[in-house]
C-alpha cells in the first residue's frame, strides 16, 4: 500500500531520473598527439583529392577529413570533368564508406551453394582457399578461370589483364548494362572514329537530344549539368535552345525548351525527317552539298512519313529542322533509350548524320573526338587497357554464361558494381549458370545479388580508401588522369582486388609473378608514373594530372558525302494483343543502375518527376491509364513475356501514349536492409534481345501489360498527385 511519503519519494526519484537521463556529456578522456603533425592545426580539416566511383563518369572529388573521419565530399574545382560540382550520388559516397553492412572480414560459404549464408574467416584462411583454387586450376586447366567484372580502366585494369594473361586464361569479361556499343559502332560508321565524342554544350546554340537523359544518367551527368549551365548562362546574349525528343518527360526533358514525345525506337526516323528538311532546303553548307544523300534515299524520309511512324507531327519536324539549320552551331545527341533498341545502330547513325549535316564535327559548339590514346602512348601496347572501355560486354557475357552452363569453368573471380545477377535479363538464367562453376570468389564491399552467390567473398576497401588512377570517359580534352587516394585510413580489414591479385601472382610464381612483380598496387602506380616528369605528390594534391593543352584532335578521315543509314524499325517482343504497352526503363537519378539502392540518403531523395521515395513505380499517360481503367496510385502487376512484378501507378501527364515507363534500381532481394524488398526489379522484365548490328543489349525491346492488383501500402510521394499546388500560387 503506497502512502504519501512513499509516493513523493518515488515521484521525486522519477523526476530526478528523467532530468538525468537526457544528459550526454562531452567525452571524459582527452587524447593528445604523441608527436603532433607539422602544419596541422587541431580542429582544422584536411581535404584530400580523389576520384568518385559512384558511377562510371569518374568525377574528381575532394573529401573533408576531420580527425580521421570523412565528413563531406565535394567536387574538385581543378578537375576538368566536373569543375568543383558533384551530383547526389557522389555526395552519398560517405554512406558507402560508413555503411553498417559493409563487409569487413572475408566470408566463406556456410550453407547450401548460392544461399548467401556465410561465416567470417580470417584473411590467411581466405587466401589459402583462394590459392588452392587458383593453383589447381592453373595446373590442370588454366582456361577454366573466368574473371567477370565491371568495365575497369586505369592501372587496375592493367593488373587484371596481366594476371589473366599470365595465368593463361582468355576469359576476362566486363559487363556494363549501360555500355555504349551502339554509339561506338554508329560513330565509327558515321564519323570514322570508334570512340565517344565530346559535345560542346557550352558553346552550342541549338541542342537536339534524342532520348538522351544526359543530365541525370548517361556517360557524365555532372559534366553535362555544368556544361548545360554554361550553355544557358555563360554567354551574355546567347541562351541556346534545347529540343528533346523522347518517350517521356524525364528530368532532362523538363529542362528542354521543347519536349516532343516520340514512340520508343523511332528516334532514327525523326532524325531522318529532320535531315530530309535540312537537305531539301539546303539549310547548312554541308546539307547543301549532300545531294548524294538525297538521291540515295533521304528524299523518301519526308516529315509526313516520319510523323506517321514516330508520333511527332510533320509540322514540328519541319519547324525543328529549320530552327536547327539556321541556329548553328548546333549539336545532336542520342541517348541510351535510342541506343538500346533492336534498331539502335540505325537510330544513332541517323542522329550522327545530323551532326555531319550541321558541319559541326571538330568545331566549337559541335562534337569533337579528342585523341584519348595520346596521353598514354608511352605505355605502349597496354595503353588501351588504361582507357575507359565503353562496351557493354553483352556478347562476351552471353558466351560466358553459355560456357558456365556447359561446365567449362572451374573457377570464377567476380568484382564490380554492375551486379549481373540483378541486371542481366532473366532468360540468361545467370544465377543457375554461375552456380555450375565449382568455385566462385567475389571481391566486394557489399553483399548484393551476385556476391551472395559466392563461395568466398573477399572484402575490398571502398573507393574512398583506395589508391588508384582513373581516366574519365568524357568531359575533358582526352588527357586528364584522375588520381585516387585513401581519404581515411581503411578501418575495416579489407584488401583491394589489385593487391590480392598481385599477392596471388607472387605465390603462383612463374609467368604470373613475373607479370606482376611489385610489392603492392600502390608501388606499381608509383613506378608507372615515375620517370614521366610527373610529381606524383603534387598530382595527388591536385587530384590528378590535368594538362591544359590537349594533343591534336583525331582527324575524322571520312570525307565526301555522308552515307544514308539503313533504316530499321525497332522490334518488340510480346503479342500486342496480350501486351499492349511498350516498356521504357531508365536509370533513376538517385539509384543509377541499382548500385545506389543501399544508401539511405539516395533512397530518401525524391525522384525529380515522380517525387517518390523508397520505392519504384510504373508511369503511364492519362489516356493509356483511362483505357486500362487505372487511376493514379493503383497497384498493378506489370508483366512482360519474361517476367512480372507489382508496382504502383503514377499517371504521368507528359509521356508518349502506349508506353509504360519504370525507373531501374529498386527490386533488390539481397543488398542490405535499405535496398531489399522495395518493389520489383524491372530488369527482370527485360528480354535478352540484342541490338541488331552490335549485339549490344536491347533493353527497349519488349511490351508489357498492366493489370490492376491489390497492393498493400501506397507510393510515398512528396508532391501530392491530386490537386497539387499550382505553380501560380507560389509566385
Amino acid at each position: 500500500m503506497l502512502n504519501r511519503r512513499g509516493f513523493l519519494k518515488i515521484g521525486g526519484a522519477t523526476a530526478f531520473a528523467a532530468l538525468f537521463g537526457g544528459c550526454e556529456r562531452l567525452p571524459k578522456t582527452l587524447v593528445p598527439f604523441v608527436v603532433p603533425p607539422e602544419n596541422y592545426v587541431l580542429g582544422e580539416s584536411l581535404w584530400y583529392a580523389s576520384v568518385c566511383r559512384q558511377c562510371p563518369a569518374g568525377c574528381g572529388i575532394v573529401v573533408r577529413n576531420s580527425e580521421g573521419r570523412a565528413k563531406k565530399i565535394e567536387g574538385n574545382p581543378l578537375h576538368p570533368v566536373n569543375r568543383g560540382k558533384l551530383c547526389a550520388r557522389g555526395q552519398a559516397g560517405l554512406q558507402a564508406l560508413y555503411h553498417p553492412e559493409r563487409l569487413g572480414t572475408p566470408l566463406k560459404l556456410d550453407g547450401p551453394r548460392g544461399s548467401g549464408k556465410f561465416r567470417e574467416i580470417p584473411w590467411e584462411e581466405a587466401l589459402r582457399f583462394l590459392m588452392t583454387g587458383l593453383s589447381s586450376v592453373r595446373a590442370e586447366a588454366p582456361t577454366a578461370l573466368l574473371m567477370l567484372t565491371d568495365p575497369m580502366r586505369g592501372h587496375r585494369n592493367l593488373v587484371s589483364a596481366r594476371f589473366m594473361k599470365a595465368f593463361g586464361s582468355p576469359h576476362r569479361v566486363a559487363w556494363d548494362p549501360f555500355g555504349q556499343d551502339a554509339h561506338l559502332s554508329a560513330n565509327e560508321a558515321v564519323y570514322g572514329v570508334r570512340d565517344l565524342p565530346e559535345h560542346d554544350l557550352a558553346g552550342t546554340r541549338y541542342l537536339l537530344s534524342f532520348s538522351g537523359d544526359f543530365l541525370e544518367a548517361g556517360v557524365s551527368p555532372v559534366h553535362f549539368g555544368h556544361a548545360y549551365g554554361r550553355m544557358r548562362a555563360a554567354r551574355p546574349t546567347v541562351r541556346g535552345k534545347f529540343v528533346h525528343f523522347g518517350p517521356r518527360l524525364s528530368m532532362t526533358a523538363a529542362s528542354a525548351d521543347a519536349f516532343l514525345p516520340v514512340a520508343p525506337g523511332t528516334e532514327g526516323f525523326v532524325a531522318l525527317g529532320i535531315a530530309h528538311v535540312m537537305v531539301r532546303e539546303k539549310l547548312t553548307p554541308a546539307a547543301a552539298a549532300a545531294g548524294g544523300l538525297w538521291n540515295a534515299g533521304l528524299k523518301e524520309f519526308t516529315p509526313a512519313a516520319a510523323g506517321e511512324t514516330t508520333g511527332v507531327s510533320a509540322a514540328d519536324i519541319e519547324a525543328v529542322a529549320r530552327e536547327f539549320g539556321s541556329n548553328q552551331p548546333g549539336v545532336a545527341m542520342a541517348g541510351d533509350a535510342a541506343a538500346s533498341c533492336t534498331n539502335g545502330f540505325f537510330n544513332l547513325s541517323a542522329v550522327g548524320l545530323l551532326n555531319l549535316l550541321a558541319g559541326n564535327v571538330g568545331k566549337p559548339g559541335g562534337i569533337s573526338f579528342p585523341n584519348r590514346l595520346a596521353a598514354f602512348a608511352s605505355f605502349g601496347a597496354e595503353a588501351k587497357l588504361l582507357l575507359p572501355a565503353a562496351e557493354s560486354g553483352y556478347p562476351a557475357v552471353r558466351e560466358a554464361v553459355e560456357r558456365m552452363g556447359q561446365g567449362a569453368f572451374r573457377m570464377a573471380l567476380l568484382s564490380g558494381a554492375t551486379n549481373p545477377a540483378f541486371t542481366l535479363p532473366p532468360s540468361f538464367k545467370f544465377e543457375e549458370a554461375l552456380l555450375k562453376v565449382p568455385m566462385i570468389v567475389s571481391f566486394a564491399s557489399f553483399l548484393d545479388e551476385t556476391t551472395s552467390l559466392s563461395d568466398l567473398v573477399l572484402p575490398t576497401p571502398t573507393y574512398l580508401e583506395e589508391w588508384g588512377d582513373d581516366i574519365p570517359p568524357a568531359g575533358h580534352g582526352g588527357e586528364a588522369i584522375t588520381l585516387g587516394q585513401p581519404v581515411v585510413t581503411p578501418f575495416r580489414d579489407t584488401r583491394s582486388m589489385p593487391d590480392v591479385l598481385i599477392a596471388a601472382a607472387k605465390e603462383l610464381g612463374g609467368p604470373a609473378a613475373a607479370a606482376l612483380p611489385w610489392g603492392s598496387f600502390r608501388e606499381y602506380l608509383e613506378k608507372a608514373y615515375a620517370g614521366r616528369g610527373i610529381d606524383l605528390v603534387e598530382a595527388h594534391r591536385n587530384g590528378g594530372i590535368f594538362p591544359e593543352k590537349a594533343s591534336a584532335q583525331r582527324s575524322t578521315p571520312k570525307a565526301g558525302s555522308p552515307a544514308l543509314p539503313k533504316a530499321a524499325e525497332a522490334a518488340f517482343a510480346g503479342d500486342p494483343a496480350r501486351y499492349p504497352l511498350l516498356l521504357h526503363v531508365y536509370p533513376s537519378v538517385a539509384l543509377s543502375d541499382g548500385r545506389g539502392a543501399n544508401l539511405p540518403w539516395l533512397q530518401e531523395l525524391p525522384d525529380p518527376i515522380a517525387t517518390a521515395v523508397w520505392r519504384n513505380w510504373v508511369e503511364v499517360g492519362p489516356k493509356t491509364a483511362a483505357a486500362l481503367a487505372l487511376s493514379d496510385g493503383d497497384g498493378v502487376t506489370v508483366s512482360s513475356p519474361f517476367g512480372s512484378l507489382q508496382a504502383f501507378v503514377f499517371v504521368h501527364p507528359a509521356i508518349a501514349e502506349g508506353v509504360a515507363a519504370m525507373p531501374l534500381g529498386q527490386g533488390h532481394s539481397r543488398y542490405g536492409k535499405y535496398a531489399a524488398d522495395r518493389g520489383g526489379n524491372p530488369y527482370a522484365l527485360l528480354p535478352a534481345s540484342v541490338e541488331s548490328s552490335t549485339k549490344a543489349p536491347a533493353r527497349h525491346a519488349t511490351r508489357v501489360s498492366l493489370v490492376k492488383t491489390r497492393m498493400k501500402g501506397a507510393l510515398v510521394r512528396t508532391v501530392h498527385p491530386e490537386g497539387q499546388w499550382l505553380y501560380e500560387n507560389i509566385l
Binding site: K72, K85, P608
Partner: protein
Amino acid sequence: MKRRWAMVIDMDLCTGCGACVVACVAENNTPTVGESEAGKGRLMQWIRVVRYFRKEEHDETRAIFVATPCMHCEKAPCEIVCPVYATYHDEDDHVNAMVYNRCIGTRYCGNNCPYSVRVFNWWDYKREKPLDEQLNPDLTVRSRGVMEKCSYCIQRIRRGKETALMEGRPIRDGEVLPACAQTCPPGAIRFGDLNDPESAVTRMMKDPRRFRLMEHLGTEPSTVYLKKMRAQGR
C-alpha cells in the same frame, strides 16, 4: 561590417537533379526518416525540390523545379510566433536563426511558415554505427522535439568569417558557399552578401527575371528566384 546574406536560385539553370538535397543532408547532419515517416510528410530535408506540372505553349504539360530552402525572410512569420524566442533574425548576418537549445517544440513556427521549409524532429532518429562517423562536428545533432531548418550553412559562414578574421581581410565574394550552392552542377544556386556592392547576388537582384515566392505575403525573403525561360515557338 555587417553582412546581409542572400541566395539567388536561377530556375533557368536548375535541372532538378537533387544534388543540393543530398549535399545539404550530408553537411547538416539531417536524419533519414524511412518510408513510413516519409509517408506522413515527415521528411527532414532542409532543401527540397518541388516539381510542378503546368501547361505551357501548345497546351503541352511541362515540369518545372523549384528548389526550396529557407527563405530567410526579413519579416519572417516564424519568428514572431515562437513563445521562447528560439528563432529570431540574426543581426550580424541577417539570416533567420534557429536555436535548438531554446526550442520547446510547439511547432507554431513550422505551422506559420508559408513555404513549409521548417521540419520537426518527431523522433530521436537513430544513426546506425558507423554512419554516425560522418556527422559534421561543426554543428549540433538535433534531438527529438526541436524544429530545424536551413541555416544558409551558418557553420560555413562562421568558418568564413573566422578565416577572414585570421587573415585580416574581408570575406571575398564566393568564398562562403552553402553546401547546396557549392555542389549544384549547372550553378543554379548563387550565394553572397548583399551588403557587398560588387557581389554576384547584388547584381542578380537587379535582374528583371527576379521574383520571390509568394511575394504578396510580404515576408521579404532573402532567397530569391530568377524566372525560368522557355524558348518559344517552333
